[in-house]
């Protein structure tokens, strides 16, 4: 029979493992999202490369190759599940003679850092980059063309215009979608258990089998994911408000209290 007391018991008894899993998942998703975003920016610009008639032959060829790579990259990485990508990455690197188990980190915190963690980090980053490329591209398209003209007419170069005027606006416009990607990453990093990355799902699965308490373990898992995503979306809302120049209040009920006072 299902026993509510058991949930608390399992949580307390295995709290070390669970905290290690939470740390792994959080680092994976945060790192994957941020580095993926940076790679995605390059990808978006790569996809937007324009081949001009006036370019010399070699530049034309290089541009075509680069553009083709960027387009192909996002098609392949978005068109296949991350689980499959992780497996191909694992066995591909194994075939090349790289064994992730052998890699060890000099310092060990919470049992997070090991070779498989590094492999998972690479997979999630490159997977996210493909989505981020698309997100940043739509953000760039959403910026008014007049902004470019305004900057260029003051004598700013193309790179300066992109860096100081266009990209900040594109990122700001795309921020809700980028935040969404972070939340998706928190949940989707669970598929990395297939290559033995000891993240949250992997930990709880093991706890479930060793304690023979499946339902309890998975309820704990669901609750932890829920809390993580709620925290993430809350922080993102604050960042959005901050970027809009609004005053931020850390009290989530502040708004309602103020409303009541006015009545």
């Amino acid at each position: 029979m299902f026993d509510w007391g058991k949930i608390g018991k399992i949580f307390v008894e295995n709290s070390d493992l669970i905290w290690s899993g939470i740390a792994t998942t959080v680092i994976l998703s945060l790192f994957g999202t941020f580095v993926g975003l940076i790679l995605g920016i390059f990808l978006a610009y790569g996809k937007n490369i324009k081949v001009r008639d006036t370019d010399i032959f070699i530049i034309k060829i290089l541009k075509r190759i680069l553009k083709g790579f960027c387009v192909g990259y996002s098609v392949v990485l978005r068109g296949t599940p991350m689980m499959v990508q992780a497996l191909i990455f694992k066995y591909g690197t194994n075939a090349l003679g790289l064994n992730w188990e052998d890699i060890s980190f000099p310092k060990e915190i919470l049992n997070v850092f090991n070779g498989w963690f590094l492999a998972g980090l690479i997979v999630i980053t490159f997977n996210t980059a493909a989505y981020m490329g698309e997100i940043v591209q739509s953000g760039l398209n959403g910026v008014d063309k007049g902004q470019i003209e305004g900057a260029r007419s003051l004598g700013m170069s193309g790179a300066q215009t992109s860096l100081f005027v266009i990209l900040p606006q594109a990122i700001r416009n795309a921020l809700p979608t980028i935040g969404n990607e972070l939340i998706v990453n928190i949940k989707d990093s669970s598929v990395l258990n297939i290559i033995a990355v000891s993240e949250l799902f992997y930990r709880l699965k093991n706890i479930a089998t060793t304690n023979y308490a499946f339902l309890e373990a998975y309820i704990i898992l669901a609750l932890i994911y829920l809390v993580l995503t709620l925290i993430a979306s809350g922080i993102l809302k604050l960042i959005e408000k901050k970027l809009d120049g609004q005053k931020i209040s850390l009290n989530p009920f502040g708004r309602y209290l103020r409303a009541r006072k006015e009545i």
Partner: protein
């Protein structure tokens, strides 16, 4: 004696076969306030955008303070026999329609059920004819006189300018837009500081000092820490003018600066522009504000369909228009 700042020789711009600007020449001297008036679609804005190369002219010569920054004498379009080209194009389209009709007639007969051997042959023949016509579309390049083009190119030295030099020119010929184009992600003060710091390599403190001075000049000093979206249209345009002034440009181009504003705001922007004119700034203003052209400008240019129809001092233009087109235009206003 005033010096010539900007010299424009035979500037032309074609978008495909539409000729937006046709051989416009103009001398801009230091302290000139030139108003360009004319109906919509007459190429005024395009002319202005060509001056700082936001739009690349098709041909012509642009000289800034004795330094040529754009020079193409002959363009490919000059060597296309347009008359013959359009004639051939019309003939081709006619032929296309005729053969397609022919085919349709026979096919309709077939659908109606009147099938015999000769009809099938006729369909095959009509199909072949139609395909044959479609295979050889009229192309512009067939009417392009490449021999004389290459000869003309050979005789003129090739002119090219690097992006860096274009940016340098643009930093001296600034533009104020109809739609303001303030950087939405930056506060008013940062809008003004950005280009001086990045382009003129000023220090932050220096740029800020100049920005505050120019913002005070347009009476926007108390809105320095606002975002553009928090300002009204007139305020935005005044900030845009201050942003241009921070670069200390030699020429300021105004592209219909008051067209997106309501009447009250128009005045506040025009007053700023009047002040600039009285300070001796060189300005080229595309405008629909006839009073501004009449009272502030020292030269008025009336453009229509890509031509300069009439130009001269405002008194002559507004009181004794010579051409019928200008008379008609002024009556409407």
């Amino acid at each position: 004696m005033s010096e010539t700042i900007l010299e424009i020789k035979n500037l032309a711009k074609f978008f495909g076969k539409t000729k937006v600007l046709r051989d416009i020449s103009l001398n801009v001297e230091k302290g000139d306030v030139i108003a360009i008036i004319g109906p919509s679609g007459s190429g005024k804005s395009t002319f202005l955008r060509c001056l700082n190369l936001l739009e690349e002219p098709t041909r012509g010569e642009l000289i800034f303070k004795g330094e040529t920054y754009f020079h193409i004498i002959k363009c490919k379009n000059d060597f296309v026999d347009y008359e013959a080209y359009h004639k051939a194009l019309d003939a081709y389209e006619e032929e296309l329609v005729r053969t397609e009709d022919n085919l349709a007639i026979y096919q309709n007969l077939k659908i109606e059920g009147k099938v015999d051997d000769s009809l099938n042959k006729k369909i095959a023949k009509a199909k072949k004819e139609f395909k044959e016509v479609r295979k050889h579309p009229v192309q512009k390049i067939d009417f392009f006189d490449s021999k004389s083009y290459e000869e003309a190119i050979k005789n003129t030295p090739k002119f090219s300018i690097s992006n860096k030099e274009i940016n340098k020119i643009r930093s001296k010929i600034n533009m104020v837009f109809q739609s303001f184009n303030l950087f939405e992600n930056k506060r008013v003060i940062d809008n003004c500081c950005l280009a001086p710091v990045k382009v003129l390599k000023m220090s932050n403190a220096e740029a800020k000092e100049i920005a505050i001075k120019e913002l005070t000049a347009v009476n926007m000093q108390d809105r320095m820490n606002y975002y553009p979206r928090e300002l009204s249209g007139g305020q935005k345009q005044r900030v845009a003018i201050a942003r241009a002034l921070c670069m200390n440009p030699e020429v300021i181009l105004f592209d219909e600066p008051t067209s997106a504003l309501d009447p009250e705001m128009v005045d506040e922007v025009l007053n700023v522009m009047k002040k600039l004119a009285s300070e001796g700034r060189t300005m080229i203003v595309v405008t629909h504000e006839m009073n501004f052209a009449k009272n502030v400008a020292n030269k008025v240019i009336f453009m229509d369909k890509g031509y300069v129809v009439e130009s001269g001092n405002p008194k002559d233009i507004f009181e004794n228009p010579k051409t019928d087109r200008l008379k008609q235009f002024l009556k409407m206003n």
